[in-house]
């Protein structure tokens, strides 16, 4: 079994239901995110387009975070999920240096590394990840990549425009995007001007844990 995720970006409307449900399900503290949705505006009025991009851990098959973790706090589950053991983590932040997707954070309460686990605790009891359940447009498609009959496998087969983030790094992500674009998926393809945060003026977090 190889669990994977696919986001159909043409269906995403940026409602943040996935981000909120993830926060609630996993008790993610303030200023930390396992899943977030980024808005990117492209063009100039009247020819303008807004892209919504949900971003979470890619559960790479060749995960740099798993490789660099000195104590195996980041480890693979048999179903392909890259899981975190908070009690083992020593908080060296090497995983944050290694992850090319900025998917890992140091939890300011536990001082341990944390990230999306595809809701491994829900999957264990046969439930879908919280973000999949909450999505009103079924933009999040989750399932077994090894099962040709799974919805995700069929989706991947039917669509020719499947993309992953930073394929050149050979991390082999198991998180795919359909109907995406470079502007949406490449963080360097868009500017980050001052004041892009709608509800806060905090642009960067200087404090990332327990020092």
């Amino acid at each position: 079994m190889r669990l994977g995720f696919l986001v159909d970006l043409s269906r995403c409307m940026g409602c943040m239901a996935c981000a909120v449900s993830c926060k609630a399900e996993n008790d993610v503290p303030l200023h930390s995110w396992r899943l977030r949705v980024k808005y990117i505006d492209q063009g100039e009025f009247p020819e303008v387009k807004r892209h919504f991009v949900p971003l979470r851990c890619n559960h790479c098959e060749n995960a740099p975070c798993e490789r660099i973790c000195p104590v195996s706090a980041l480890h693979y589950l048999p179903n392909g999920i890259v899981n975190v053991d908070h009690n083992r983590c020593i908080g060296c932040a090497s995983c944050m240096m290694a992850c090319p997707y900025n998917a890992i954070y140091i939890d300011p309460i536990t001082n341990s590394a944390d990230k999306c686990t595809y809701c491994a605790h829900r999957i264990e009891v046969g439930m879908m990840p919280a973000c999949v359940v909450a999505c009103p447009t079924h933009a999040n498609i989750f399932g077994d990549l090894d099962d040709p009959e799974s919805e995700i496998s069929k989706y991947l087969k039917e669509h020719k425009d499947v993309m992953v983030r930073k394929p050149e790094l050979n991390t082999k992500p198991k998180h795919f995007y359909v109907r995406g674009s470079t502007v949406a998926l490449d963080p360097l393809a868009s500017e980050r001007p001052e004041g892009y945060t709608l509800f806060t003026e905090v642009k960067f977090l200087d404090h990332i844990g327990g020092h």
Binding site: R67, I68, V71, R88, S94, N102, E191
Partner: protein, 293 residues
Amino acid sequence: MLGAEVTFDVALPKVVWGWLVSTNMWAKSIATGTFLLGLYFIKKYPEKDTFFRKWIPILGLIFIGITLLVTVLDLHHMFRFWKIFLFAHFTSAVTLGAWVVSGFVIVLLISFWSWITGNKKLFDRVMIPGFVLAFFSTIYTAGIMGEATARELWVFPAEMIQMLLSAALAGSATYLLIMALYKVEMEEVKRELGYILIGSAFLSGAMYLGEILFARMHSEFSHRAVEILTFGELAPMFWLGIFLTFVIPIVMVGIANENKRYEYTLLGSISALVGLWLVKHSWLLAPQMLPLS
């Protein structure tokens, strides 16, 4: 349609590895550099080995102590440090480094005991393992940087050579500083240390310039990181570091060696050590200034 800009996102962590990590690399360069150069001089000038048999353990233990202290302080769970030995994950260069440095500390303790008791043979017996451990203690950080897939500026084989050159530069500068401060009269050794400092500074400086040039062509990410380093937010620190590490020491130590005016080595070696920290720190920060997602 014209350009694109992020209109909504969350606040992102900026610098994750800061001055504690830079200090770790800097202090480790001094500890391993003084050890490796010390061995060389003991072998080359056995009649003048007293100086090195004394300063190898003293400098080694002080600076590897600083390295270990800042490493542990940088952990968000500093009291879980022991887990690196109990739950060791050997694909990680962090783990390998912890084990290798631990071995190096044992060698330094033995060399300290050898100096205290005057038992030269004891230190002689650990010279070869000490050499191996000091060598790998020097380069393992390049392994960590190589595994930091997200920070493409660091993922170059040149990092390993830079670590070795940093050790040669820091080791020679530290010995020259000690010799100037304690007015040690060993002209041949001073001259040779001066040439090692000049050579390593020249090569390291040339490699930095090469890395800046070639990293631009490697990827968009490393191109942007180099821009920040050379013309952006970090440029004053980086260029000051380059000037202090590579230009001033070459000039000052060059004058000292040519004119036998060894008092100039004091300024040259201090400049090299201060500059080395600045260069390492700015190199560490640059790829952390860019958004990854």
